[in-house]
Symmetry: C2
Subunit: 354 residues, 2 copies
DNA sequence: GTTAGCACTCCGGCCATGAGAGTGCTAACG
DNA sequence: CGTTAGCACTCTCATGGCCGGAGTGCTAAC
């Protein structure tokens, strides 16, 4: 008994939950500290503002709300959002209209490869009014399909590497001795015979063999080195590329009108390693994961929240889609959107890659 | 005589020029309306503030300066900046330190293709503290080098098109009848024989021939269509892609702290057509071109200035580098930077493509 | 043509004020 | 015992008046 007065952990009674929920939802809407009277007025709580005040004081004790200053309304803490997301927020599934709109947008997509991910990011940004994130589905490891050497000048060539999973890499390589296009073709043909359908590791061992062979043209060895390096790097990365859209949506939120903080968020996002480091955790979780403010490991990310999910098959190819927004975010809607989009992406991957 | 009192066009006498210049440079520095006294204090004009006031009043009559309100200092108009850029600004060449830094950064570049343009944009952004822009050098027209078909599922394949100029395009194509990888290889081999070294137009005529041929596999025709479409689109675009960096630099300028305007600038930039439409003009001009505020055709761009130059050879391959910043921009420095970087890019292109 | 001097304008910072929103506490109520 | 009305208190924020300073434009003298 006196359940409501014992502070630590213990689950909140329904009324406290209701009030926490109302506080959060009101705050998400208005971006202003929420007072007890407002809550009574706009959410049919059936109690007086004084009671609400008492409950809010308890919620503050328990760490779910704070005060910006003595006589202001309450604001949710990270812990408050966490509890909300975890057990209080309504499990919405996206409104049919929105589903339709998203599906429609995906229908438009031409099959040009990277357009997809741009589109996914843009769609998410559009429906959530926050920033959308998407990474291509990256196969766990790659095999070589074909290489091509194109002379671009007397001393440089463009090396194109096509991977068996449909990916393409390109880079320029310097050539010390003059090779003409015909000779480049010979080298390419030789290597295609040697290396087709080989994994990075197999390419590496072939390279060792080739290096020993006195008959092998020196260029062939150098190109193989490059190819091996490209493939190794490809295998090592968990995230190939990060597309984002609508970062300006976030910027126009009141808490970020002073943009200095966001610059660092931008920068951290460009770095593929950050999302990459999350993939493992996401993949095992299986569902949408939410990272709220301070829960982020990176200091830059302390002021924003991420709603993320993977798509694809864990063993084969994995990508990430998600939302980046202020901690004051419409979580249920964001979660619904990410869940739906990741589902769609799953279908697409399913359909296109086996 | 009484030269200074006749208002229209006529070139400004040296003192007026000096004062206009001082006004602009002070304003660029401080972002605040410039008063006559400040000018006298900080720029050794050798006359009294009253005189300066008279001259400034004339410059305002002539349309080179304005008043935000009655008793405030002067602010340059677009016309003022234009005159400044055209005939008053000092022709600086970039400081040796800066040249060195830029050259150094370019030295770092791995030859992975698109890294270049990102780097150019980043470098420009870094030295000018505004946004940097760069587009890849796009050949006027392309020839086919090689295509590759990789099965990704039973009903889709990845089509990789390598162009003779070193570019690569990729897209997914649906396949109605089941083809296995060996059959795809056959089709690819057939088409490579047919189409290698052909231009978009030649591919189109081959396609017509192929469509007539009852022996040609239907997939070959469909793939050829795709290839032709890709090549045609490639030929038609004057700008292949737009890389930008440091848009946040611009955002942190006081005139853009209310970001609504910048969103539209962002959006307009993503559209390749806008820069594309400028390329022709830039290429004929030969040197760095400056577009100041209202001179931009697009309404969104009225509040910003562009400093642009092409690199590459007009007949063969052209790209654009430039700066986007507030109209209140350090034009001489921006121009110097763009000139230097475009020169470097020229060297690189020269070196890598013939 | 230049300059000193001056009246005038307008912005921006400062302060006091007061309304409003919100809290926390206490005492009464069912 | 939980709930509620009431109240004193706190803090913010918008308002308005006030002043200083920066800057102008004009005039008259140099």
């Amino acid at each position: 008994m006196a359940r409501r007065t014992e502070r630590p952990a213990g689950p909140l009674d329904p009324r406290s939950q209701q009030i926490l929920r109302a506080t959060i939802e009101e705050y998400v809407l208005t971006a202003e500290p929420v007072g007890s009277q407002t809550l009574v007025d706009r959410y049919g709580l059936g109690v007086s503002s004084a009671t609400v005040r008492n409950v809010m004081a308890e919620l503050e004790e328990a760490g779910y709300l704070t005060h910006p200053h003595t006589s202001a309304g309450r604001v949710p803490t990270d812990a408050g959002y966490r509890l909300y997301v975890e057990s209080i927020a309504p499990r919405i599934s996206l409104a049919p209209v929105e589903r339709l709109m998203i599906r429609h947008q995906f229908g438009q997509v031409e099959f040009a490869s990277e357009q997809w991910f741009r589109l996914a990011a843009a769609t998410i940004a559009g429906t959530t009014h926050a920033a959308g994130l998407a990474t291509p589905a990256k196969p766990r490891s790659c095999k070589l399909r074909h290489i091509d050497l194109v002379a671009t000048s007397t001393h440089t060539a463009s090396l194109v590497v096509v991977l068996a999973e449909g990916g393409v890499k390109q880079e320029l390589i310097p050539i010390e001795d003059a090779y003409d296009q015909a000779e480049l073709d010979d080298v390419a043909r030789l290597l295609n015979n040697e290396l087709a359908d080989k994994s990075a590791r197999q390419v590496a061992s072939r390279m060792a063999a080739l290096a020993q062979d006195p008959d092998a043209p020196p260029l062939a060895v150098r190109v193989t080195q490059r190819v091996e390096k490209l493939m190794r790097e490809f295998d090592a990365a968990t995230v190939e590329d990060v597309f984002s859209d609508g970062l300006l949506n976030v910027m126009s939120e009141p808490e970020f009108s002073q943009s200095e903080k966001l610059r660092r968020v931008f920068a951290a996002l460009q770095n593929r390693d950050y999302l990459g480091s999350l993939v493992a955790r996401l993949a095992t979780a299986g569902d949408v994961q939410v990272l709220i403010g301070g829960e982020n490991e990176r200091a830059e990310m302390r002021d924003v929240s991420l709603v993320l999910a993977t798509y694809g098959q864990p063993g084969r190819a994995l990508g990430v889609v998600g939302v980046l927004g202020p901690t004051r975010m419409a979580y249920p809607h964001a979660i619904g959107t990410v869940r739906y989009v990741s589902g769609l992406m799953n279908e697409l991957v399913e359909q296109l890659y086996r």
